[in-house]
């Protein structure tokens, strides 16, 4: 196994990732008032990105074949309904995850 290769791959990946995470701060974090549009975007993006990340987690389900993504969709539904109802993060996540494990390990 060639160690130099894996070390350079790790270094390149780390540097690109670090650069992307630092760039917004390098560009806009200069101590004074943020440009209004950046400040605005920073406030409205989180709810939009949360929806995006949820869709991202579900990106590989097949709606038209196999089980139609039913285990995922049902359990996401359960998590969201429970959270609307009780607003207890751990409860919503535990119930939906255990349900998911039962469904995928037994039924499907």
């Amino acid at each position: 196994m060639n160690d130099t290769y894996i070390i350079t791959v790790i270094a390149v990946m780390a540097m690109v990732t670090i650069a992307l995470r630092f760039l917004p701060f390098i560009l806009f974090d200069h101590g004074e008032q943020l440009p209004k549009w950046i400040s605005y975007l920073g406030k409205v993006l989180p709810p939009a990105i949360m929806s995006m990340l949820l869709v991202y987690c579900l990106r590989n389900i097949k709606l038209v074949e196999g089980n139609h993504g039913l285990p995922e969709l049902i359990c996401v539904g359960v998590a969201m309904l429970m959270h609307f109802w009780k607003r207890n993060t751990l409860l919503s996540i535990c119930v939906s995850t255990i349900l998911y494990m039962i469904i995928t390990q037994s039924v499907m």
């Binding site: 894996i6 995470r21 920073g42 989180p46 949360m50 929806s51 995006m52 990340l53 993060t89 998911y100």
Partner: protein, 230 residues
Amino acid sequence: MKQIIKQVFPQTIPVMAGYISLGIAFGLLLQSKGYGPIWAFLMSLFIYAGSAQFLAVELLAAGATLIQVALLTFLLNFRHLFYGLSMIEKYRGTGIRKFYLIFGLTDETYALLTGYKTPDGLRDKDYYFAVTLMNQFYWVLGCVLGSVAGSIIPFDMTGIDFAMTALFAVLVVEQWKTHKAHLPAILGFVITTAALYIFGADSFLIPALIVMSVLLLCLKDTLKQEKANE
């Protein structure tokens, strides 16, 4: 210190479940390509990006060029550019820890820190730092564990990584309840789903993020109005 852990730990439990199980899967996969625990450790410590590390395993196995590695990592982690925008104001005044806070800004850390408020009695900077550090700890632990002992785990873990999906589902609801303006959440869902349909599962995040940001900027006045009515 104890107080901080006591108050922050419960918030990070879903990430713990997700990171440890996904980390184990990663460690196992890396091991299967002939790279042992030391590499799992170094990658989770320095790259610290789940999907990029899974990609790295494929690239290593394929003997990809460094240009390919850089380009694919850039595309995969492009979304992190947008996370910082929400953290610039939050992270002011965090001193030297800021470097680590930015380094450790993963999807899940971002989600927790924008989804929840600092628990009562904690300083913001201690809270941000504790969440970031605990999350990376789970990830490193999972990756190394998978590499060392993944094949001897006694029970069937299939499906436990759903905890991460459930976490984002819960945080969508959390954001829905916190913000009166629901347009960003709806736009995020509609645009990402459309982008997934148009561009496919491998390349939809970047177009989705760009369209989302542009549209939100165009809607600035409407959304400001809604905020004013809250």
